[in-house]
Symmetry: C2
Subunit: 409 residues, 2 copies
Amino acid sequence: MDLEASFTRCFDGLAAIDGGTTTPGTGWNRFAWTEEDLAARAWFRAEAALLDLSVSDDRNGNLWAWWGWPAPAAVVTGSHLDTVPAGGAFDGALGLVSALVAVAALRHRGVRPRRPLAVVAFADEEGARFNTPTFGSRLLTGSLDPATVLARRDGDGVTISEAVTQADVDPLELGADPEALARIGVFVELHVEQGRGLADLDAPVALATGIWPHGRWRLTLDGAANHAGTTGLADRRDPMLVAAAAVEAARAAARTNDAIATVGRLRVEPNSANAIPSRVDAWLDARAPDAERLDRLVATWRRAVEDAAAEHGVEVAVEGESRTAGADFDGGLRERMGATLQREGIGYAELPTGAGHDAGILSAHVPAGMLFVRNPTGVSHSPFERAEISDCVTGVRALAAVLEDLLCA
Amino acid sequence: MDLEASFTRCFDGLAAIDGGTTTPGTGWNRFAWTEEDLAARAWFRAEAALLDLSVSDDRNGNLWAWWGWPAPAAVVTGSHLDTVPAGGAFDGALGLVSALVAVAALRHRGVRPRRPLAVVAFADEEGARFNTPTFGSRLLTGSLDPATVLARRDGDGVTISEAVTQADVDPLELGADPEALARIGVFVELHVEQGRGLADLDAPVALATGIWPHGRWRLTLDGAANHAGTTGLADRRDPMLVAAAAVEAARAAARTNDAIATVGRLRVEPNSANAIPSRVDAWLDARAPDAERLDRLVATWRRAVEDAAAEHGVEVAVEGESRTAGADFDGGLRERMGATLQREGIGYAELPTGAGHDAGILSAHVPAGMLFVRNPTGVSHSPFERAEISDCVTGVRALAAVLEDLLCA
């Protein structure tokens, strides 16, 4: 079986849905429950049908393609179909395409599983539309209470409740799904790496060691709107100056804590070139190797922001918007995956990541692991995200070997 | 004649058009040629009619209300009807209301002018909709070539050409209007002060000495979009850090040049909390007592921005969007206005301003002067802009005395 040809055919089908090609351009915009997402779900059903897999939705809108009869303790692999705004072609897509091609390869070489396998496409992993990342996996595992988010609206005022209904998911049925969870004996997610770890280490794939704790904080800075041309410096209460200090303090606090921090979103009011802003909102995204360093980073940042606010007569409020505890992937599973890769002669590295994944959510409930595929530039969440076809094929080989080992042991 | 009652009635009529009351709230949004602006223009025509003034439009959409037959070398006073986004009730409006009430007062006390007088409402002084400040006065004086701006679009994609057509102004007729200019023998604009100069000096009104040179520069910072959770600090090219440096450098350069500078507008792409921005645009508004200090300020700022961009691997471009030379108001006229105020027993100060005004545009062509009315907080371009009624009445008395002197000498 020509893995490269199978991979390319399958991958191009998904990439064609939004954005048109895998050439970097304006990016992919497949947000949960939209027309583009529904087209991707139809693509998934069609690809599964080509492999004689039987597809079913669960109560939370996750899609399952089964090889064998659905039963407890199955081997499960998969990822997600949705993207961030102007996202890349690989994030999520690579894991699903690789899973489908790996299943095709196992079938092609006559593997006879001792337990069922499912390829799962988790719903709304990025959370771009409703600010609800890992929506499908958190609902399934009971770690997200649907009542707390059903009324959230997208930029057009559509609620989650309305959006899922349009996708034939009953909002009243959303929530913990212990039967579905019990069917997952082990979960393996393949994902394009989102940094330059593998490029620097010169390896095609990695086993993930864990996910860093992560949080998002919203900073609200209230100053006083005023005329930019007539208000003396001493009479200003300019929140933009405090926002600038917050951007710089985030970088400094990340550096001293061996962590990462980003201010990627700002809202300025009234955002007029000749007016001192009345208010600036800024969002801090911070991730660190452990919870202590994350706390220290945020505390240091906050003190710096409060000092700047006091200096400029600006009122400051900091609100935690989200916080995830991070995850350590199952050590036994990782060892077993590593042994399989060695047997196959696939060189690999081990890396942590700062990004959240459905595998991280599941890892609190079942043995879970991740395979990363090298990203030559490290660019992700961008139309310029990419992976070499040879590395993608190595990823498929690695995933197929890991699945075969788990299915047949 | 009860000046306070006349003033209040007239002022409240204009304030009611957009925003509803003179109580600070969400602010006034009267942008050129919109429904709100047309309503304000109708208000102006109606108030002029109450005073038996004859109203006519000129080719550039400026409205003229004449006491006496339109003729060269008239005494002209006025201001503008449009506002900035979420603007205050006084900016522009105070000058027009005070002009109308002053004319009423002169008529009431039987003044017999020796030359005609006009109250003028200049079109689109703020330039909020099309980024074309002092549109009407610059067209009239020939200092703005309409061909360079007719295709500019507002936020909804409407061009200036389309917008003026909707207000019954022929876009092909826009441009230098030497006949209209020749009718202006002298121009006096009353305006709410936009800083705390009079509040600090404890005077109700001021004569303007001049307008500071002023410019606007657009800064474009191109970095690399990337995942906020997985990209190491060393692998980032984050334009937000350079924008932060630009905000702080603007303040520092203003301080060392006894000038003012503001970054009030930013545009962040993709502006997502979990993405390193690909690009940030920032606008610098800077004003200084003289051209040399303004140049020095911008050069210092630019060097600081370029240093930060080099440090962070970000590409930087700086583009001058507008520059005005500033203005020194006619010394003879100012002396004469001062003598009149002294005769009337009205205490006054003399102040420069960093704000542009139609009077500044006209000052290059005819003797022009300005009266400022005390602003107790200095807040302007904001719903919280205000002036005490007693100071507004003093402003009307001052303007009436100045106009009487100019009309009857």
